[in-house]
Amino acid sequence: MFFTYLRRELRRRVRQAVFIALGLALGIGLVITVVAASSGVQNSQSAVLHALYGVGTDVTVTEPPAQGSNVGTTFDFTQEIKNIKTGAIAAGTKIDINNLATEQYGLLSSGALAKVARQPGVTSAVGGLALTDLTVNGTVPQISLGQGAGSFRSSFTTTTFNVDGVDASSTALGPLSSGKITSGSTLTSADADADDAVVDSGYAAQNKLSTGGTIDVGGSNFKIIGIVAAPQGGSPPDVYIPLARAQSIGKNGSASLAGEIDTIYVTAGSAANIPSVQKEIAALLPSATVTDSSDLASEVTGSLSSASSLANNLGRWLSVAVLVAAFLLASLLTMAAVARRVREFGTLKALGWPSRRIVGQVMGESIAIGIAGAVVGVGLGYGGAALIDKLAPKLSATVGSSNAASVSGPGRALGTAGSSALKALTSSSHTVSVTLTAPVTLDLIFVAVVLAIAGGLIAGVFGGWRAARLRPAAALARVE
């Protein structure tokens, strides 16, 4: 009798039941879509952080560049023009410079790596060098009076690419850790002193490089032993070479980089240890910058950050508001439906139906509507998430600011008198692009279904309460 009565009653007021179910469905659908989008944004953020930070790296230690260092300065060829005018360099001189030098960080003191590795809570620590390979080719032009830097610069071809010196015995930590080898193999301890290189897949495709080929790094020919694909959103270096070789052929200004590093990658024993490890290292190296992935996360700007804010704030409150409105609407309409059935319930009470049986009937009808709302809502939520996946909007994440890399050494070829460093004409970019997805998990579906049924239950409680309060005599006296 319960299900027969329930079915027939819902069929009698099908329009109202559909209206309530759709209201609940809209709320549930919005909750699913917003939560899925929020998860997608979080996944994108994690991917960006992993790509920028490296999988397995908990803490990164760098040294800010020394004051007055070449980092951040720009070159305008003014000195070179003067050298030509004074005859220090003759017009027609061919220039072919290949320089591998430190980029944006200062050098960490020797022994810093060993000290960090000994800290309690540190599982492993490896060093690295972030370098830029700069090649300048051209012929020194004839400079006439009034001619500016533009015409001087246009006489030269400049190419740059980023090179990371990595600890070949421990590539599971550091910049190579987040990539996936798609061809050949990665660096191993056997390559520690070899002229072997692993090339980023994007750079390889652009420059038609492949495993087995060679690449000129800092004037030395390196054999390409593997191609690595960085995760989406990453801003990887173009080439990876063994740290020892990077230290050997790289320069910091005019000084050698033998035994030097500019980055330490640290793995902590557990996520709970990270803050204490960070603190210990900061105390050990007071002038160093010690960051973990959450520090990087807080610096991420761009549309990814905006999307995260949108999903977490506006999205969350919007879906809560719609859900509350749907619950209220369901409750009001259920109470109205009970009001229209007052005589019917009075008759049932006269026939000996206890109040709890009548209340149970009302709640059953509401829960049935809630279940219908859940089914449609899950469909709507899936549709919303699928739409986001299909549109696959690209979001950008920017970390830090552009820097001009410094290069020293080539200035000597242009003349020693007053020579200045020849700077790279590109800046390093930390803006990465990720595609937004909206994953829908079983847990999310479960929570959404529970919410919809809860909505039906709340409506049923209000309606049932009204039905339970009816006095039979008063109910039977009601004119319909």
């Binding site: 009565y5 027939r8 008759t347 006269a350 000996g352 039977l476």
Partner: protein, 232 residues
């Protein structure tokens, strides 16, 4: 069966207090048919509802088989109604979404009768009132007389000891009225029911053993000539 002593019913209407019943004393014997007449608004339906436990008196006693319904907890009164008291209403009060058979089954639900047994008893009850061929019809597909037959079957399917009918022929034409009252009389006789019928129709009231006149909340009962009460 029933003994009402000093039953008073007052209720508020607007700012005023209305006295629907003013100290009603009444004894209804087992198997008796009592008709209660009176002008509209003088407390007939109120008295019937108090007899049936649908309402409580402001003061007084309503003894039913030795138990005072007026002081019984609501849950227990509901159980008494479920087991022992059948109701027939002027407006039939059938559930519009349930068929004739399902409407009759509704009366057996509080008694926790199994589904198969419920179905069988409902079908038999409808057959007894001459509607064996209308089991699956909805109330909207039945005439007024047929709907009142369904209501009668619903009232009697649980084999109550008391049948209370509030203007059972009020919404019916003369011919149908005679049919229904004839049916009620037949069932009263065959089942030994105690029956109380509220009616404004003298022809209906004349069929009863005793007639009560309720005017201004006061009841005066007379014996119908030639229709002795069970104790006589």
């Amino acid at each position: 069966m029933y003994k009402l002593s000093g039953v008073v019913k007052k209720y508020r209407k607007g700012g005023a207090v209305v006295t629907a019943l003013q100290g009603v004393d009444l004894v209804i014997e087992d198997g008796e048919w009592l008709a209660i007449q009176g002008p509209t608004g003088h407390g007939k339906s109120t008295l019937l509802q108090i007899i049936g436990g649908l309402d409580r008196p402001t003061s007084g006693m309503v003894e039913f088989d030795g138990t005072d319904l007026a002081r019984m907890p609501e849950r227990q009164v509901t159980k008494v109604r479920a087991r022992s008291i059948g109701f027939i209403f002027q407006t039939f009060n059938l559930i519009p979404t349930l068929s004739a058979a399902e409407n009759v089954e509704v009366a057996l639900v509080p008694l926790k009768v199994g589904a198969a047994d419920r179905k069988a008893r409902a079908e038999q009850a409808l057959t007894d009132v001459g509607l064996g061929d209308r089991l699956r019809h909805l109330p909207s597909e039945l005439s007024g007389g047929q709907q009142q037959r369904v209501a009668t079957a619903r009232a009697l399917v649980k084999e109550p000891t008391v049948l209370l009918a509030d203007e059972p022929t009020g919404n019916l034409d003369e011919g149908t009225r005679d049919e229904i009252i004839g049916l009620l009389e037949k069932l009263w006789q065959s089942r030994g029911l105690t029956m109380v019928v509220v009616t404004h129709d003298s022809i209906v009231a004349s069929r009863a053993q005793r007639q009560g006149l309720l005017r201004d909340g006061r009841l005066a009962v007379t014996q119908a000539p030639g229709r002795p009460s069970p104790s006589q």
